[in-house]
Symmetry: C2
């Protein structure tokens, strides 16, 4: 790759360094013909401007940031693939950051990004209580698009799925297959995403004339290593015959807990979970899932960010809702 700088380009082209520099900056002082020659040589020699210096000049980094809670989550890795596809077409780089659900880490990333490292941000919020003021400041300075994990009190462009309908329909499916005591594994309760899922569950119970039993809602613990024991106690004490898990990380512990407690899925307990678990079909038993259109969410969110860059997007506060899909498998089979 060698040391290709402006001097080297100038030498190869038999031009002055100042002329090359102006041509690369697309200055009106330079003829179109010369500009073309300079760009061709720059391309041929793989000339790369120093990204820091060029960012200072143009305020363009040709880079976007994606901030997600966890990359080891099938929903987010699919959404990132969608974002990357759109970015690649436009020759943009994608930087991936993971917050591990920490609002502190999230804020620290945002602070850094504010200073010109990227041209825009795609974010799915951490589940920890959100600092809303931060986002106001950020969105004044950098284009930002929210996806999946959003917050009603934070204004902005948002791409979500039909969280309310998805849980409502999932509960309906459990009722139709014979469940009488339907538990809900609640998460993301600081976010609109989590609130809508919870409301869908509550309304579906009500519409089926089920009594409201707060004890059937298990709230996720702070620490991940407590998840398993929490779920095990929940199953033993509340004896649900159906469970709807609002995030995929809470569904797997149900399998382990049922094994240990000696319950058969789906005979003794039926299970449904959000969202895109890759191998749901190969589990024992295969798992009924609410599949979110993860890849499409990524494509949509990135598409809007580029429209904002190109001043072809006018709504500051708009929510676009894509539809999820209930995929029925063995874990909710009826007829016993």
């Amino acid at each position: 790759m060698g040391e290709v700088n402006i001097k080297k380009l100038a030498y190869e082209l038999n031009l002055s360094a100042a002329t090359v520099s102006r041509a690369l900056r697309d200055s009106h002082e330079i003829s179109a013909e010369t500009k073309m020659r300079v760009l061709e040589m720059a391309k041929r020699l793989n000339y790369e401007p120093n990204p820091f210096a060029s960012s200072l000049r143009h305020q363009k980094s040709k880079t976007i940031a994606v901030i997600v809670p966890e990359i080891a989550n099938n929903f987010f890795s699919l959404a990132i693939n969608g974002i990357e596809e759109v970015a690649r077409e436009r020759d943009y780089h994608v930087l991936i950051y993971q917050t591990h659900e920490s609002s502190k880490i999230e804020t620290s990333f945002l602070m850094r990004l504010l200073s010109g490292r990227v041209d825009g941000i795609l974010i799915s919020l951490a589940s920890e209580a959100v600092d809303k003021e931060n986002f106001k400041e950020v969105s004044k300075k950098l284009p930002i698009v929210f996806f999946d994990r959003v917050h009603d009190d934070i204004e902005g462009v948002k791409i979500t799925t039909d969280d309310y309908d998805s849980t409502y329909n999932a509960v309906q499916h459990l009722v139709e297959n014979g469940c009488k005591r339907i538990g809900y594994l609640r998460a993301l309760d600081t976010l609109s995403t989590g609130k809508k899922r919870m409301q869908g569950y509550l309304d579906a119970l009500k519409d089926n004339n089920f009594p409201e039993e707060p004890a059937l809602v298990m709230i996720e613990g702070e620490k991940k290593d407590q998840r398993y024991s929490l779920i095990k106690s929940f199953i033993e004490e509340q004896k649900p015959d159906g469970i709807l898990s609002s995030i995929e990380e809470l569904a797997m512990p149900c399998y382990y807990a049922c094994k240990e407690v000696g319950l058969n899925i789906p005979k003794d307990l039926k299970l449904i979970s959000f969202s895109n678990l890759t191998h749901a079909e190969l589990l024992n038993p295969s798992l009924t899932t609410i599949n979110q259109p993860a890849f499409e969410i990524g494509v949509e969110a990135a598409g809007i960010l580029f429209k904002i860059f190109n001043k072809r997007w006018y709504e500051f506060n708009e929510t676009i809702v894509l539809k999820s899909n209930l995929i029925k498998r063995e874990s909710t089979r009826g007829n016993f």
Copy 2:
């Protein structure tokens, strides 16, 4: 967060902007007492220098890059978690890039990174044929540490696992449980990682006096969407009674293919796979895996990168090998 810049700091401190700027640059013209006052105020007001400007000055971005083939792979997401833990302790940011196994994308990332965007690189190579010359250039300019996916012809510091021993022992386990025709799903064959795994397989067969049958080695196709049909034909035509998959992405299609062809795992066909599939235990049947110490590899690789930064690492060309672990589960059970 507001607009905290040097002017604002100067105003709050009742100093001139030039004095504040010099204090932040640690200039000898400014007294230690004043420097302290400036730094305290900068901290209190969350002052963040423009990273581009400050990088030009110090050539330090306090950022490291991790380049991996896929984030939606349990091995890589665990390794990244290990890297992030080390980086967080040192107040470094981690940028994650995925190459999707493309050497072209890999090269494009490296080119970009060369120009000062990060202080160092941790990389697990793409499986596509590697451009070795690129890495020579990169390692002259930026500290780089290779992990897991490495190449013998590229010099550098490398953290790998005992790939040869792992496949050798896995084949031994299949033989002990009664397999007579052991197939191998080969991948990563351009990399040392893949070559060592393959050699372990071949040597174990030889030591058990099995005939060498090239047809029992299935080479991964170029396109991911051909994987399933390739594996299905392989199982139907070669009729292996044991399969060792050298990457996790090839193990899941075996489950689907056996279902379709009507073979029972483990009765008709026993299956082992690399590497850290999170839910291997919950699959039907549970899957015997070669677990690599993924998190530890990340910690080790990042630790060495920081030693290089601090000039406490002297070997340019060294390979550190961590041990993997064969976890025996239902998919390789004997006694039928």
